[in-house]
């Protein structure tokens, strides 16, 4: 059996090296629970930690695509307490791992299908709409009563609460050459840049630009965020992100992670 450090792996390749070391130090020193005593003798499902991590930085192969990318979800969201093995079918061998944290916050992903003992969830990796099955033991289950709809054609964002519109705003969407990808995704993280340039808050989602493999050194992740100039709202001018007015951002900041985001053409 491999030792605990290698079995758990370190998420997120493009993190600066000192941060990686710090994360590794945290993992070794206490995240495993029980300070590495034999009491929690976890057998990692991914012996050796060789499986790819389901994060915004990775592309996952051999996993099924979202079966109904435009349908509404029931708002069930799950958080894996520990890294969860991800399979293409319930009971099939794991081909990836879903870490407990994404972008330094808790991982919350929406459930698209359930089978006894298993949950099929949307994943934050490329390709867009990639799903996987995770065992439902060790999952914290919760419910988000909200949903976010983006109509790319109308350039509007609607926040739904219990299925009813709670606010609609004009937004800036992807320009014709760098369109905002359509389909079902979810709110992945809530980030407050230490030195904000264009927005006090960045809300990445699980989807990526289909035309930009990387952008600004990042993996081409689509996000909701604000914009200094209000003239962009209602226009198709972005690199794929959805720029939203300040009051929309304030409302979106209170939406639970994992909440479904449905982007339609």
């Amino acid at each position: 059996m491999s030792d605990e450090t290698t079995a758990r792996g370190v998420p997120g390749p493009p993190v600066a090296v000192p941060v990686v070391l710090a994360v590794a130090a945290v993992l070794v020193s206490g995240c495993g629970g029980g300070g590495g005593t034999a009491g929690n003798g976890s057998v990692s499902p991914a012996a050796g930690g060789a499986l790819p991590q389901a994060t915004t930085y990775t592309t996952l192969k051999d996993l099924p695509a979202d079966p109904s990318p435009s349908a509404a979800l029931d708002g069930t969201v799950v958080h894996p307490a520990e890294t969860a093995p991800v399979s293409a079918q319930p009971g099939a061998p794991a081909v990836a791992e879903l870490p407990a944290a994404q972008l330094k916050g808790d991982t919350w992903v929406p459930v698209v299908e359930s089978r006894p003992g298993w949950k099929r969830v949307l994943l934050p990796s490329r390709p867009n709409g990639v799903t996987g099955w995770i065992p439902d033991s060790g999952l914290k289950t919760a419910r988000s009563g909200q949903a976010i709809k983006v109509d790319v054609g109308d350039r509007k964002l609607t926040l739904l609460n219990a299925g009813r519109p709670a606010g609609t705003w004009p937004v800036a969407v992807g320009a014709p050459k760098t369109p905002t990808p359509v389909g079902r995704t979810f709110l992945l993280a809530s980030l407050a840049p230490a030195k904000p340039t264009f927005s006090p808050l960045i809300l990445p989602v699980g989807a990526h630009s289909a035309t930009l493999d990387t952008f600004g050194g990042g993996p081409g992740t689509v996000a909701f965020h604000g914009w200094p100039s209000t003239s962009v709202f209602g226009k198709a001018v972005t690199h794929g992100c959805v720029r939203v007015p300040a009051d929309a951002l304030k409302r979106l900041a209170k939406v639970p992670l994992g909440t479904p985001v449905v982007i339609t053409a």
């Binding site: 009971g91 099939a92 006894p116 033991s137 988000s144 990042g218 081409g220 690199h239």
Partner: protein, 240 residues
């Protein structure tokens, strides 16, 4: 080769054991979607990945076998078999030992055919008490784990999902120790309902069966509200 010989031996054992517990077959052996089978899996503080696991909708069985379960703190087993094909699944485990629970069995099998399932135990004992070879679906036994908690052992567990797919698990253990839930599934087979209306042979149980107390996968309490996120100080170059 030794491995193949052992595998054949187990397959023969399974074939011999299964007729004692005959399934009422579906009216038609037409396609029932993919079958899937897992010999052993466990979740919780000690996770054992599905070993072996197979899912297939082919017309002929796809089989996987493992001679011995890799060492872990909770379960020992040999000759683990899983087979699946369209509308069918079978799983079997030999020489099963869950020492902390006092559970032993020389052979455990589960079989699912077109939405009907059955499981079977050979020489199974729980703390010295002999377990019925063909327990009624969802027979639950509670075991006191001296000093650390309690476990529920469900024999011949039947769970049907909303699409009509049946999962029959020969032995399902759910134990809560120090606030954490450990589950162990022994010989689990899942198959689709197939295309037979009426379902005359359907077992008298389902996911809502009140006699199924240890079902960690079907919580009855509604989930709590998802937390409002606290922004994390950080940045990700996104697509502007």
């Amino acid at each position: 080769m030794r491995l193949q010989a052992l595998t054949k031996c187990a397959a023969v054992a399974g074939a011999l054991a299964l007729p004692f517990a005959a399934v009422v077959p579906g009216a038609a052996a037409t396609t029932g979607g993919a079958g899937s089978a897992v010999a052993i899996s466990a979740g919780g503080p000690v996770a054992v990945p599905p070993t072996p696991a197979v899912t297939s909708d082919a017309q002929r069985p796809v089989r996987k076998s493992v001679v011995e379960l890799p060492p872990n703190p909770i379960v020992e087993a040999r000759l683990l078999n899983a087979a699946a094909w369209s509308g069918h699944a079978r799983a079997s485990v030999a020489d099963l030992r869950l020492l902390k629970l006092g559970l032993r069995a020389s052979l455990v099998t589960a079989k699912c055919e077109n939405g009907n399932g059955v499981s079977h135990l050979v020489k199974a004992t729980l703390n010295g008490r002999t377990l019925k070879a063909d327990a009624a679906p969802n027979t639950a036994v509670t075991v006191n784990l001296t000093g650390v908690g309690a476990a529920t052992v469900t024999l011949n567990r039947h769970v049907r999902d909303k699409d009509g797919n049946l999962t029959v698990t020969a032995i399902e253990v759910s134990a809560t120790v120090a606030g954490q839930t450990q589950t162990i599934s022994i010989a689990s087979a899942t198959c689709g309902k197939g295309a037979q209306p009426g379902e005359p042979g359907q077992p008298p149980s389902g996911p809502s069966d009140p006699s199924d107390p240890g079902a960690p996968s079907t919580p009855t309490t509604p989930p709590s509200a998802a937390p409002i996120p606290t922004p994390i100080t950080g940045d990700l170059p996104v697509t502007g």
